[in-house]
Amino acid sequence: MTVFHYVLKRSIANKTSLLILFLFPVVAIFLPSGEYWPHLPYGYQYFGIFILFISLKLSGLILEDRMRGIAKKLSIAPISHFSYLAQNLLAYFLILVLQCLILVYGGVFFGKELYQPFWLLILFLTFSMASIAFALMWISFFRNKEISMLIFMSMISVIALIGGVLIPIELLPEVLQKVAITLPTFWLAWGIDWIIFGGEVKEFLLVNGMLILYMFLFLIIGSVKKLH
């Protein structure tokens, strides 16, 4: 687990990263609630986008490894590609787990109305997995960290708009509503709705199942071994 160890250390090595990683969930707890929509406080509603950004920022480490030729050195080191990836992703996931814990149970501690905090946590965790896998796939398309981040930003702003995070999905035109279903954020929004309004357990399982399916898809595509 050496890689795991060092990835963890690198992720929180400088103060800015540490601040971004752990200050935001704390700030997000105290963001106000909306009047009609969203039903959860804004910090919770927007947390999905934050998770997407953080996963890309974290998996930037892998891209950095590829850019700086460390991936090449690793490929002749006695460590398999699978183990390298798994340890990296595990470390990112651990960081995201911590953030979700801070956000959800911090909210509970400060008396925010979260309806079903435990299920919310579970939802955020599955979404984190899907989003890390997505970030892994995303960086496999790029050779440059900055460019990958910038294009990601432009894509996320569109996804956030039509994926049901920034505005309720019912407001979108018919076609966009259908397109939105293909985006992982749609399922996050659906999951949040389930947590607020309740419903059959089957539905919640479907939401999480879909997120996990997305995770598998992104992982399979993203785990290609790339030596630039």
Binding site: V179, I181, T182, L213, L217, I220, V224
Partner: protein
């Protein structure tokens, strides 16, 4: 890179196109999320298939998926085309028939669907055969490449053997000379010397005369032997620079000027043969194709390389490709780690540069 890579690319393209068709149908349909679950599952199977090599029978996964989703998403029938395609590109095109029957049975007759799956099976089968052929071709290519390397190796071994033979011949010749000198010449000369010394000591006139007679015989025999030995040593053919001079002299109707400088003894016999071949080829070419009046041949030998330059003042600048003679010479030059270049810009210019190989110890 694999030769049939672009077939893989085509296959991936086709798979994505099929999924896009499904996605389009889903967009048109009234189905909600079931369609996207279905497409996502197909996408996962597809990406697994692209990333890892899985069993030939994996098209059954798609088949089962499609059949399972038909109640929820009617257009899953169109997904069956994916199963047909996956079966066809592993050579199981007959799957088209049961699936088509299934399509006809489970649905009011939809000609577009039948046409679509027919198209798919044709494309899939064609791809399968092209890929198979490509793989076969690649195998042949690999074999040929392997044989080529083998030949190259044998050629290098032959060159090495040539060196060995040359060395062995030299040693043999040296042995012959030393044996000849030792057995006959040495023997007779020693005898003559002893006879002369004895002659000085002897007082008897008749005896002394006999000894002198003997010395005379021995010396005359030695002279003959020496002549014979030396005669045997001299090669009948000319080698080295004399050979080149002779070639130049033989090219009589042409006016060829031959100069050389440097220590020509350092040039190995292979190089001489190569240079000779070059000179012959060049002179043949000049006499055949050129309108030159004067040809200069220069041979420079330095510490590390030997350079032969043949230059005529012809004006024929016909853009001709190098003939097979020149090409084979170039190949030979390359095996000797040298080079041979032709330039027709300003008369016909042939330059052959060969490295001087250090004699192997």
């Amino acid at each position: 890179m694999r030769v049939y890579e672009r077939y893989f690319r085509f296959v991936i393209f086709w798979r994505i196109a099929q999924l896009l068709i499904l996605a389009h149908l889903w967009l048109l349909s009234t189905t909600d999320f079931e369609g996207i679950v279905f497409i996502l599952l197909l996408l996962i199977v597809m990406s697994i298939r692209i990333r890892f090599s899985i069993t030939k029978w994996s098209f059954l996964i798609e088949l089962i998926l499609c059949i399972a989703f038909i109640p929820y998403f009617p257009f899953a029938l169109y997904g069956l085309a994916i199963a047909i395609f996956e079966a066809a590109i592993v050579g199981k095109w007959w799957l088209f028939f049961p699936i088509t029957i299934l399509m006809i049975v489970s649905h009011p007759l939809d000609l577009t669907l039948i046409w679509y799956s027919f198209l798919t099976v044709i494309v899939g089968n064609f791809t399968y055969h092209s890929m198979k052929e490509r793989k076969q071709l690649e195998k042949t290519l690999d074999m040929e490449r392997k044989e080529k390397y083998e030949l190259e190796r044998i050629k290098m071994e032959l060159l090495d053997a040539y060196f060995e033979v040359e060395k062995a011949a030299e040693l043999k010749e040296r042995n012959r000379i030393s044996r000849e000198l030792h057995d006959h010449l040495g023997h007779d000369l020693t005898g003559a010397l002893l006879a002369i010394q004895a002659y000085e000591q002897v007082d008897n006139e008749k005896q002394a005369h006999g000894l002198l007679e003997q010395v005379k015989i021995r010396l005359s025999r030695s002279t003959t032997r020496l002549r014979n030995t030396v005669h045997n040593l001299t090669p009948v053919t000319y080698i080295g620079v004399e050979r080149l001079q002779r070639i130049v002299a033989d090219a009589e109707p042409l006016f060829v000027e031959f100069k050389y400088n440097g220590n020509v003894d350092n040039v190995s016999s292979q190089s001489w043969m190569m240079l000779e071949a070059c000179l012959k080829e060049a002179i043949t070419n000049v006499s055949k194709y050129s309108n030159a009046t004067k040809t200069e041949v220069e041979l420079d030998v330095t510490e590390t390389l030997v350079r032969l330059k043949i230059h005529d003042n012809g004006t024929v600048t016909k853009k001709s490709v190098n003939g097979s003679g020149i090409r084979s010479l170039q190949l030979r030059a390359r095996t000797l780690k040298g080079s041979l270049t032709i330039d027709r810009q300003n008369g016909y210019l042939l330059v052959c540069v060969l490295p001087l190989q250090r004699r192997r110890e």
